[in-house]
Symmetry: C2
Subunit: 410 residues, 2 copies
């Protein structure tokens, strides 16, 4: 099936809002085996919405809209879609009662306008909105189909995940199954080079690569009449990819590297402490992004200034003078100091130059020392990261998470 | 002038890449007084690109494209635009020589394909690419215009900012001037309510509101024959908005709240230390996002576990038992301990429940205590933030930055 995504809202055309819905929906539709051919965005203007819907229906079977389901006069997506498919708008009593209840619960007065949200193109499948008042719907007429979703991502994502995707799956004779491979330490284009021949020789399963904050995601998706058959098609591909780049693979689920590592530590009940200089709290922030780490996360220091390195970690003034704050020696002394202080199973220390200032010929921006102490084993890594301040800091943090993951699992 | 933004790339339709170019370019074009009417995305497919360009030229004068300027056969944007405008593609010798030099410098072999990047529609204005090999261009034929930009945002943004915007300004008889108002602590819809009448009664200057991670940006933009005239139009509007919501305004530049506060502290040379529990390093991370803070940022602790609160900050076990870690008492003891340890001009402590676990009826998820010591003055704030873990943590951090800003400036 071919699809187009039509996002509606003047705020998108003004650049006031980043259009994350088109990305999210494209990814999800592709996972269901639906090819997205067009993205289009128009303002809250009836003529332009109508024109665009008619144009897109000449090219695709499914139009997925986002926005324009609210109670105001501007919200005309349902009218326009009903019109384009030659269907009437019909009141859904159940949705109307739900709205009345919802308003009563929050002590707000319901106005006639609000009931616009209870009208849908005839024979629509209603999609509940668990995070807002405007339900979505799926409607079909002949070969043409529309999936109407609200605008805010916090409403769109759960509505698609929990309701819309199941309805779309039902309409598909085939079952879609995906496996994920998460890669760190190898760039996307290198990954593509390594598996290009597999990608090009495959139509089922299909293989796609995505990149997000330093991690590469490979998705292997198969479509057939049953799940077992899908896995028969997917597994050899996943095995082949693993045999080629296995050492860079950190997970076979769509889970981030920090979460993968933290889960591992939680599972093994290893206590952890960190002392960061150039990353300035980023590693701590990434660790505490996950609820429930307080049992293992014993201590975190950000020893940004030299004074703090001396006072908190017992780094010697002499080493700071002789080797500089960004040096193997200081990184090691930080590590010893952190261990003495916390006696954690795993200690991590970072010192480096994130830039844009502070670099020299001998110690350029991007030079980072990462120290890891794992029980009796001590590791010091010297890295030269490239890019701007943010990228250097993020790469340092991810490198640390990956090394810990490797150390703990081997 | 009316414009459309056409982003080209199959990776966008697969949901592999978030389309930040459309947002960025829309904002920038609007700042120049150019109305963006359509966003459209198509894959790297010649027929569909041609069809879309022809469609859009029936509706707008300016098409801004992103992507398809590279050296491969898929990169056909220039050919297609030249065709649509009835122009030939012409070799630009200067660009060709630049490419040869660039390849020599990096020790790479140049192939015939690479010279595709030196061809442009006749009479194009070439736009240098300081961060990649593919230059952009602006081309005009009669009333129709095209601005061709590369795909990667790190190339698009500086090319637009440094070159394209100046060329577009030149073509505009009027000068465009913008002033910014940054607001924290009042939601976007509340801000809109407060200034709705001004927005609706104005066509020059225009007023637009944008929201990004808890901060609201109001942009007031005027267009006239000279800058002085613009300020005459803008200033009374800015004054009127200030008189209505002045207490929520933290800057009249497009600068984030953390940066505003940090700049203030750097300027006043106030030293600062932080001890975070629930924000787990987020405040430290936001402080160290800016290079050059190591002179004032004395010490940062992340006392996530109770043990660390006792050991690092001298919080009494008794208070932890009696009042719990998330309490005014413990927040205050953390503040005292941090001050004793660091003697910083400003100390900040945070303890709270970021969720999703750990809440109770008495102490729900979102309950946060924020302590600030500013020389001899001590402040403890009790807040109940709403939303998920990430939002609670970010709102806590921003609240702290805003309070410090207010304390330091009053």
């Amino acid at each position: 099936m071919k699809a187009a995504i039509l996002t509606i809202g003047t705020e998108l055309l003004m650049g006031m809002t980043l259009n994350t819905n088109s990305e999210y929906l494209s990814r999800k539709l592709n996972e269901l085996g639906i090819s997205v051919m067009y993205h289009s965005t128009v303002g809250d203007n009836e003529d332009r919405i109508i024109e665009d819907i008619n144009r897109l229906y000449e090219k695709v079977d499914l139009i997925v809209t986002s926005g324009g389901l609210g109670p105001t006069k501007d919200d005309i997506t349902k009218e326009v879609i009903a019109n384009a498919l030659g269907l009437d708008l019909v009141l859904n009593e159940e949705v109307k009662l739900g709205l009345i209840e919802r308003f009563k619960k929050y002590g707000r007065n319901i106005t006639e306008n609000n009931f616009r949200q209870a009208y849908f193109p005839k024979d629509s499948i209603i999609l509940d909105n668990d995070f807002g008042t405007a339900p979505g719907c799926i409607v079909k007429k002949g070969k043409k189909m529309a999936l109407l979703l609200p605008g805010p991502p916090r409403e769109v994502n759960p509505m698609f995940e929990n309701y819309a995707s199941k309805e779309l799956q039902k309409m598909n004779k085939n079952i879609i199954t995906s496996k994920f491979i998460k890669v760190f330490g190898m760039g996307e284009s290198k990954v593509e080079d390594k598996i290009m021949d597999i990608v090009e020789n495959q139509s089922n399963p299909t293989i796609a690569t995505y990149v997000k904050s330093g991690e590469v995601l490979i998705r292997v998706t198969s479509s057939s009449e049953n799940e077992e058959e899908n896995y028969k098609l997917i597994n050899p591909i996943v095995d082949e990819i693993t045999s080629r780049i296995g050492e860079y693979i950190f997970n076979y689920e769509d889970m981030s590297l920090p979460e993968t590592t933290i889960n591992l530590l939680l599972e093994k009940k290893f206590t952890i402490s960190t002392a960061e200089s150039c990353t300035g709290g980023l590693i701590a922030k990434l660790i505490t992004d996950f609820s429930g780490v307080s049992d293992i996360y014993k201590c975190s220091l950000i020893t940004y200034a030299n004074e703090a390195k001396v006072k908190e970690l017992n780094v010697s003034e002499q080493s700071l003078d002789e080797f500089g704050a960004v040096s193997e020696e200081v990184c090691l002394e930080m590590l010893d100091g952190l261990y003495e202080k916390t006696k954690s199973d795993i200690c991590i220390t970072v010192t480096g130059i994130a830039g844009p200032n502070g670099g020299s010929e001998e110690k350029p921006v991007g030079l980072v020392y990462i120290g890891i102490k794992y029980f009796d084993n001590t590791f010091i890594f010297k890295k030269n990261f490239r890019g701007g301040r943010e990228r250097i800091r993020m790469n340092t943090a991810l490198f640390a998470f990956n090394e810990i993951r490797k150390i703990v699992t081997t």
